[in-house]
């Protein structure tokens, strides 16, 4: 059994060993993982679900053995209550498809919470793998007056115990060599399963159950029994939703429980109590309390941050600063990037002969992708802020404060985190719903999460605000642009709240949720980890810009450029020649040509507009025009909207492609917002008025224009029903609210 996870790697004769890293949430497990694997972690997903799967190679392993470390999601016990915990349990039991059964298990514990964390740790040790206990946060435990005798603990548990301060990197070498020792010479702990402490009927029923269910997977009898035992004491609700459950198990479980109850024993409480009793004994023998418990700094901070009124006020301030900062601080790097993109376009334009290829590269590729890449600073800042809030421990408080209000919507405070995360991107937001235990509540959060304005809308808002709204300032610092942005975010939040409330009262009715939430002590954020996370996200964004958006832009360029009419080209060529002759004639006589430049420009505009109108994209936009005309939008915007249904940020690049391709060749690249401002309708009035800008922004607040989100919702809900419903309801809201905005603003006197 000890070599369950080590299989000889076929060709090179190298041994592969999987090390599973498990532990409660908030133990610094990810820090330990980063220290063990360095910068070579691979992030992916478990098959069929969106739970993040992180693995990396152990640094310092000998050449003949390849040791992979798998970072499992945090869990409180082996009886799962959420998808995260189920993944952890199944991985530890070696029942997860595509994940090797672990050869060594490392359980990370928070030393300052030894008693509670030993609950899960002893469960894992009982599984019988070669196990190492990583006793993290030793410094915190010391500061709180818990002196832990690691040697004594190791004797009690029968496994190696390595004290750690992962945040400072202390003890990691010892942990690594301890893991490698287990890889080479596995020893199985002498920990006696807690089952031995329980009355006889428990043991009998567990044995019978292990046989009856015929649990698949790893053959060890001990593991089968532990698994059966965990199933036995699980609650009832989760069972029907457990896809890994074998047929007929439910009946066998029910009977086993009934038989235990018939003997006057409580199968729910006894196993937990019994385990805690043993843990209590272990702690008594291995922990010395040096100082009586006192109020910590965390407690004092909490008194303010979770205060009924101050807490809310502070949360509002934190979020306010966050959004203002994203708009203000990102300005400078964005200008810089914008300049580079323009310069790259110019450089390319000067070095290539005029023609379709140059147009494709300059207008399609550089301008299109560049228009999206420019928003990288804002996206990085948003992820930085969210990462900092998570790392400091404030995010849990925010959820706690919000619980009272979320309750009114039929959600509990924990749903606040996925919703807040959706400001960065709905995809990680929807993925974060995996910690929500109730299926109906989870679904309600998934359905409304994309209403939170994600970072992909930010480019659209920014562009439209710059193009459509006048620059005003009040009191020196409050800017109209910031206010408009805040308004759009507010609209998204408000409607998300309303829709959640509506769903929880109609199609997704359920009991008001109960919240129990761990509030980890505040700590100084490990900046390196936050930055690394930001880097990962920025990389994902750039990869998308380099692949999906690039491909889309090339297609769009094609659609906006072809078909070309030779006849019309000849017509405009002739008109241009005539104008030039006229000018030459006047020049020859030393006369001025009043209005000549304007006529030339008008001709160019006319040609560009006609070319776009006749192109495939123009026709597509025209098809859409009847649907969006009541919203005051024309077919050019229609092209932008059509393309946004693949991903919202494509609006920006599409419009840049649309207008640049339409603009006369050889004209100077101008900044996009200015270009927008110059667009006119047929009657000469500007297209991008404040009123149209607002309408378009409101449309973008609501519409579910993101193919990736639809795909993730499909994966999370296991059917097309919910993503399609979501797409339709958000589309209807988008159209309705845009209509109200367009007509409402006219009623308010805007032109």
């Amino acid at each position: 059994m000890s070599d369950a996870g080590s299989a000889p790697a076929a060709a090179e004769g190298r041994r592969r060993v999987a090390v599973a890293l498990a532990g409660n949430p908030n133990t610094g497990k990810t820090t330990v993982f980063n220290l063990l694997t360095g910068l070579r972690a691979k992030v992916g997903n478990y098959p069929g679900v969106t739970v993040e799967r992180k693995e990396g190679r152990l640094r310092g392993a000998s050449g003949r053995t390849e040791v992979t470390v798998l970072d499992l999601p945090g869990a409180y016990s082996l009886s799962p209550r959420s998808q995260d915990e189920r993944i952890t349990r199944d991985a530890l039991l070696g029942r997860l498809a595509g994940v090797p059964s672990p050869g060594v298990v490392v359980v990370v514990l928070d030393a300052s919470n030894l008693q509670r964390h030993l609950y899960f740790a002893t469960q894992v040790i009982e599984l019988g793998y070669p196990t190492v206990v990583a006793l993290n946060m030793m410094d915190v435990a010391e500061a709180h007056g818990h002196r832990i005798d690691a040697g004594q603990l190791a004797r009690e548990l029968g496994v190696e115990v390595v004290p750690l301060v992962a945040s400072a990197g202390r003890g990691i070498l010892r942990l690594r060599s301890s893991i490698l020792r287990q890889v080479d010479r596995p020893t199985v702990g002498s920990w006696r399963p807690v089952l031995m402490d329980l009355p006889a009927p428990f043991r009998e029923e567990t044995e019978r159950l292990a046989g009856a269910i015929g649990l698949s997977g790893a053959g060890a009898r001990g593991q089968r029994e532990i698994h059966a035992f965990c199933l036995l004491m699980e609650g009832s609700e989760i069972e029907s939703a457990d896809p890994g459950r074998e047929r007929g198990a439910g009946d066998a479980l029910g009977e086993a429980r009934r038989r235990i109850e018939a003997r006057g024993l409580d199968w729910r409480a006894l196993p937990v109590e019994s385990r805690y009793r043993r843990i209590g004994g272990i702690c008594e023998r291995s922990v010395t309390e040096t100082i009586p418990p006192r109020e910590t700094l965390s407690d004092r901070i909490d008194r303010w941050l979770t205060h009924r009124y101050w807490g809310i006020a502070l949360l509002a301030i934190v979020l306010g600063i966050m959004f203002q900062a994203i708009f203000v601080f990102a300005h400078w790097p964005m200008e810089l990037l914008d300049g580079w993109v323009g310069a790259a376009g110019n450089w390319l334009a000067q070095r290539m002969p005029a023609g379709d290829l140059r147009s494709l590269l300059v207008d399609g590729v550089v301008a299109g992708v560049g228009a999206v890449v420019v928003f990288l600073p804002q996206i990085c800042l948003l992820f930085l802020f969210i990462g900092l809030l998570e790392e400091t421990g404030y995010m849990a408080r925010a959820a706690f404060i919000m619980d009272r209000w979320m309750m009114k919507l039929g959600l509990h405070g924990r749903s606040f985190i996925p919703l807040l995360g959706s400001f960065a991107c709905a995809i990680p937001g929807i993925m974060a719903t995996r910690t929500i235990e109730s299926w109906r509540e989870k679904l309600a959060v998934i359905l409304v999460a994309p209403l939170m304005s994600c970072s992909a809308r930010l480019p659209v808002y920014t562009l439209l605000i710059a193009a459509c709204l006048p620059e005003r300032r009040w009191l020196g610092a409050v800017r109209l642009s910031g206010l408009a942005l805040l308004g759009m975010y507010g609209l998204g939040v408000g409607s998300a709240m309303f829709m959640a409330w509506l769903f929880r009262r109609t199609i997704l009715r359920g009991d008001p949720p109960l919240l129990v939430m761990e509030l980890p002590p505040y700590k100084r954020p490990a900046l390196g980890m936050v930055l690394r996370h930001v880097g990962e996200r920025a990389g994902m964004f750039l990869r998308q810009a380099g692949t999906l958006i690039l491909a889309f832009n090339m297609v769009l360029w094609f659609l906006a450029t072809y078909p070309r009419s030779e006849e019309r080209a000849a017509h405009y060529g002739a008109a241009r020649e005539q104008l030039q002759r006229e000018r030459a004639g006047r020049d020859a006589h030393g006369l001025d040509a009043p209005g000549w430049a304007e006529r030339w420009a008008a001709l160019e505009r006319e040609e560009a507009a006609e070319r776009l109108e006749r192109s495939f994209a123009g026709r597509l936009g025209r098809c859409l025009e009847p649907a969006i005309a009541p919203l005051g939008m024309d077919w050019k915007i229609g092209i932008g909207i059509v393309s946004s249904f693949a991903a919202r940020e494509l609006f920006v690049s599409t419009m840049s492609t649309v207008y640049r391709v339409g603009a006369a060749e050889g004209s100077e690249p101008v900044r996009l917002a200015e270009h927008f401002r110059r667009q006119t309708r047929e009657d000469g009035s500007p297209v991008y008025t404040a009123r149209r800008g607002l309408t378009l922004m409101v449309f973008y607040v609501f519409a579910l224009q993101c193919a990736s989100t639809v795909a993730v919702v499909r994966r999370e809900t296991h059917s097309w029903r919910w993503p399609l419903f979501q797409w339709a309801y958000m589309g209807a809201l988008a159209w309705g609210f845009a209509w109200i905005t367009w007509h409402g603003t006219r009623w308010l006197g805007m032109s």
Partner: protein, 100 residues
């Protein structure tokens, strides 16, 4: 408005049985012992697993609409509904040792 509550060792104002008072009515700063949990089975199991077992001593740190309490050195936030379902008994003197 003054908070309704009770000090350690005193009979709670709002509780009929002093030995089983909902956690939601306990004064902040009090140490109590959990007596009974009136909850659906699966929530109950999880609560016990994270340390809210019967006979466990816990300390209430803050009580507003929701409560924050300390169980084996960890702070947990519980919402009002949950706090109402946890019946506790006051401990006469503040508990010094949470690890007991």
């Amino acid at each position: 408005m003054r908070q309704k509550g009770w000090k350690a060792g005193e009979a709670p104002a709002g509780c009929k049985q002093p030995a089983a008072c909902p956690l939601s009515q306990v004064q902040a700063g009090t140490s109590v012992r959990i007596k009974r949990l009136t909850l659906p089975p699966d929530v109950l199991r999880r609560l016990r697993e994270i340390g809210f077992c019967e006979e466990r001593k816990i300390r209430l740190l803050m009580r507003q609409n929701s409560v924050i309490c300390e169980v084996c050195n960890t702070r947990f936030g519980l919402n009002r509904k949950l706090a109402e379902a946890i019946l506790v008994e006051p401990l006469p003197v503040p508990v010094r040792d949470q690890a007991a």
